[in-house]
């Protein structure tokens, strides 16, 4: 039986058609993956199923009954729950309290309900549900103390407690470590066995293959493929998704950089966080001209702090950074950029771009003191517009309104804008932190090719990423971070994923030359 059916759903935002005549059916008890490039309309479709927005035209049927959702509450009552990419939890409350937020159980006195919460009964009730679905949670822990993977579990529990049959997950694995991803997969399969229907949006082909029964592929607001997972493969899905052939592996030219000089060097860099705990200890790395140094590691092992130090957002308490023979330790970001270092920040909407400012204003950010951008304290907006037109053409950035704000850009185009900005000044070194995070296959390919181009021109690259395949395919040398230290360094051409994976888990062996 089809649990959800959409008939001719169309959603328009002004002149933009986000969803164009979507006709889909979801079978009960299956796991369905939805893939597509950024801006393909996946989230728009899911938001309509969850009552966050309403279709411009078309109908939604649940168990062959027409429904109309005004708020997520309507959707929950109809049996649809959604877990967002960004969790909506109260950190200071316990897991149990978070799950029951809004549906608290009250003490029942002789004269009916009292305004006091019956926490004992609450706990029992929630425990019952967690046991039923075999979800491992310590209900009395506070949410602020638990890991991201557990928080996601709490979000899923919140929906299960409300008795939903259909669970929508928006990029559930984007924030998880590899181990947490595995745990999530087990959880979801358990739910499937209990008869729940699961829909998840993802960018990662490996998860589609591992987890889903069938997969929907979207492109530019349309459904372009609806296939059984067992009848297809990663290559085929990627091809349908972007409408052309994509190289999942990059073509990297071999460059003999062994004779070229060192351009960037870190000597014993250490730092403490605000609580006084040492989060980076004695980091020593070297980057040669024309070399990509990959820094791998499970998120949270000091990469964030390291990038902050390299880009001037945090000061080191010890050590030196030498760039091109100059000591640039603890310089301001603007000076670091001026010295010839390009920076791609990890969160493109937090540090990389400002959504509410125009494309013109964003395309010069960080370089706004250069004489071609501002003179005698005044911005040269005429020149900037010319520069923008040139870069938009050169980097194939798709914009509807060139004078408008950055918020109109999709993720891939926003990243292209950052790359255009940073590469245009011909940096001698590039620091890239998660440069393809959350991007679709086509955009990933673009970013990778641009980084390789830069390498060919003889620039050094520091690539920090938790995406192991990215590190493996791009880097010349790989340094692995664990617990604030470089635990090992390996030659990318002579290593394999298992060896790097071991290092990421903190296990060293003889083959890696420890520093």
């Amino acid at each position: 039986m089809n649990i959800i059916k959409t008939s001719n759903i169309t959603k328009k935002y002004g002149e933009l058609i986000a969803n164009d005549n979507i006709n889909l059916t979801f079978a009960e008890g299956e796991i369905k993956a939805i893939v597509g490039e950024n801006g393909a309309g996946k989230s728009t479709l899911m938001n309509m199923l969850y009552g966050l927005s309403r279709p411009t035209s078309g109908k939604i049927f649940i168990r062959e009954k027409e429904v109309e959702f005004f708020t997520p509450l309507d959707a929950i009552n109809a049996g649809i729950g959604m877990v967002h990419q960004h969790f909506k939890l109260v950190p200071s409350l316990t897991i149990c309290e978070n799950i029951l937020l809004g549906v608290e159980i009250m003490y029942k006195g002789k004269f009916g309900k009292t305004p006091f919460i019956d926490s004992k009964k609450e706990y029992e009730k929630v425990q019952e549900v967690t046991d039923k679905f075999k979800i491992d949670l310590n209900l009395k822990d506070k949410v602020e103390d638990i890991s991201i993977g557990l928080k996601q579990r709490v979000e899923i529990m919140k929906m299960l407690y409300r008795n939903v049959d259909i669970l929508i997950l928006d990029e559930p694995t984007a924030v998880l470590t590899p181990q947490e991803v595995d745990a999530l997969i087990i959880d979801l399969q358990e739910l499937k066995d209990k008869g729940k229907t699961i829909i998840f949006i993802t960018h990662k082909m490996s998860e589609v293959m591992k987890l889903s029964d069938s997969v929907i592929i979207m492109r530019r607001g349309r459904v372009v493929g609806d296939v059984k997972t067992k009848d297809t493969n990663e290559q085929e899905i990627a091809q349908i998704m972007v409408g052309r052939d994509v190289l999942l592996r990059v073509n990297k030219e071999e460059i003999d950089y062994s004779k070229s000089g060192v351009i960037y060097k870190l000597e014993n860099i250490s730092t403490k966080n605000l609580l006084g705990k040492e989060v980076l200890s004695d980091i020593n790395i070297e980057v040669k001209k024309g070399e990509i140094l990959g820094i791998a590691g499970v998120e949270g092992n000091g990469q964030g702090e390291l990038v902050k130090i390299l880009t001037g957002l945090m000061t080191s308490t010890k050590g030196k950074i030498i760039f091109n023979g100059r000591n640039i330790t603890n310089w301001w970001p603007v000076d670091i950029r001026e010295a010839g270092i390009g920076i791609i920040h990890g969160d493109r909407y937090a540090q990389g771009l400002c959504r509410d400012m125009t494309i013109n204003e964003n395309i010069v950010a960080g370089y706004h003191r250069k004489p071609d951008v501002s003179k005698r304290g005044m911005m040269r907006y005429g020149e900037i517009a010319k520069k923008r037109d040139r870069l938009v053409k050169e980097y194939d950035i798709r914009i509807a309104n060139p004078d408008g704000n950055v918020s109109q850009l999709s993720g891939g185009n926003a990243q292209k804008l950052i790359i255009a900005r940073e590469f245009d000044s011909n940096p001698k070194l590039l620091i890239a932190y998660q440069p393809t995070h959350g991007l679709d296959v086509g955009s990933i390919e673009f970013v990778h090719n641009k980084i390789l181009e830069l390498r060919k021109q003889g620039a050094g690259v520091v690539l920090v990423s938790s995406e192991l395949t990215e590190i493996m395919s791009l880097s010349d040398r790989i340094a692995v971070m664990y617990n604030g230290r470089i635990i090992g360094e390996v030659d990318a051409h002579k290593t394999n994923i298992e060896e790097v994976g071991m290092l990421m888990a903190g296990i060293t062996n003889k083959r890696s030359n420890k520093i």
Binding site: G352, A365, M379
Partner: protein, 363 residues
């Protein structure tokens, strides 16, 4: 949304609270026994559509434009200077001291000296919360707000003791020397303070739309993390913006002193003070420069209009105060509506249930 449509929405959003306030104001006037239509028409014909009245309105709009700007500018950097009132009082007071202390100076030198004193005092007073905010992360709203009361009391003590004019029958400082008074243009109420205000306004407009400082301040206001990652010194920007705001407030006080009041009394700034009026004007003008000018002139017409209806009708001038209060109230209602979807959703639900009911009835 398209730019033109946004612009219309902005205008609509600014007009609606004003119109609603006048609507309720009309009910109150009727209850008092007056005729709202004649009251309003007298008020606006004498303040906006009568040459001398209009010049008077412009004259009183000058300090309001400056205080409105002072607030709107800090808002751009996402900080809130609630101390415009205090900075204005300090600026006005010490400009007054310079005004009566020196005698026989060249008028141009004297006025400039007084205005510079006012500006400096305003800046010094804005510097305290600026430093606390930038380097010690102290909430600027609390500091600026509380400093207002400190300023008012200090100035009261100074006026009652060392700077008291013994010949005056009430608590006030001596009047400024005639060389420190602004030149009146063509014998009207309008003084050179108004063109000076317009010049300052144009300079501010250029700084915020075209300069690098304006660019960096916008970035700091919209996304501090991005601003820092792009190499902007946020602490320094906070201090600059507070100093500019303080300078504008101080100038407003000094200019008001030399063009209208001439001596510092305890009700120098009126009630509510010019600084608080500036806040309303910044909100009404939606923090845009042109909006602030229009809002300041309109608000000035409302203020001067109070006296006029007192003279020409039997409606008391306090009814204008009621309208001012209602405008503030309605502006905050608009804010709530902007930030929540609640209203929109209930409306959508309401309209469809109604539709369904109609369908059922037809069946």
């Amino acid at each position: 949304m398209k730019k033109g449509k946004m612009f219309l929405l902005d205008i609509f959003n600014s007009l609606l609270p004003v119109l609603s306030a006048f609507g309720i104001g009309a009910i109150i006037i009727i209850l008092i026994g007056g005729n709202p239509l004649t009251t309003y028409s007298i008020m606006f014909s004498k303040t906006l559509f009568n040459w001398n009245g209009f010049l008077k309105t412009l004259h009183f709009a000058s300090p309001l434009i400056l205080t409105g700007l002072a607030i709107a500018i800090t808002f751009k950097a996402n900080i809130f200077n609630m101390g415009v009132e205090g900075q204005l009082l300090v600026g006005g007071f010490f400009a007054c001291v310079v005004g009566f202390y020196f005698e026989g100076l060249n008028p141009v030198v004297h006025v400039i000296l007084g205005l510079l004193t006012g500006i400096t005092c305003g800046m010094v007073f804005a510097f305290i919360p600026a430093i606390l905010k930038a380097y010690f992360k102290v909430n600027e709203i609390v500091v600026t707000l509380m400093l207002n009361y400190a300023v008012i009391e200090i100035l009261r003590i100074l006026t009652q003791t060392i700077y008291r004019d013994p010949t005056s029958g009430y608590v006030s400082t001596p009047a400024v020397a005639s060389s420190a008074m602004f030149y009146r243009i063509g014998g009207t109420r309008l003084t050179l303070f108004f063109p000076l205000t317009i010049i300052v306004f144009v300079i501010m407009y250029i700084i915020f739309k075209k300069s690098r400082l304006g660019y960096e301040v916008t970035a700091v206001g919209k996304n501090p993390e991005f601003a820092e990652a792009s190499g902007m010194n946020i602490k320094r920007k906070i201090i600059y913006i507070m100093l500019i705001s303080g300078a504008l407030s101080g100038l407003a006080g000094a200019g008001y002193m030399f063009s209208e009041k001439f001596k510092y009394t305890l009700d120098f700034s009126g009630n509510p003070g010019l600084g608080w009026d500036g806040m309303l004007i910044a909100l009404l003008g939606r923090h845009s420069p042109i909006g602030i000018i229009i809002a300041a002139i309109f608000y000035s017409a409302l203020k001067t209009g109070g006296d006029i209806i007192n003279i020409f009708t039997n409606v008391p001038k306090e009814s204008v105060g009621v309208i001012q209060g209602l405008i503030i109230l309605f502006i905050s209602i608009r804010f709530i509506n902007q930030n929540t979807k609640l209203f929109g959703n209930t409306m959508a639900r309401f309209s469809t249930t109604k539709k369904k009911k109609n369908e059922e009835v037809q069946k």
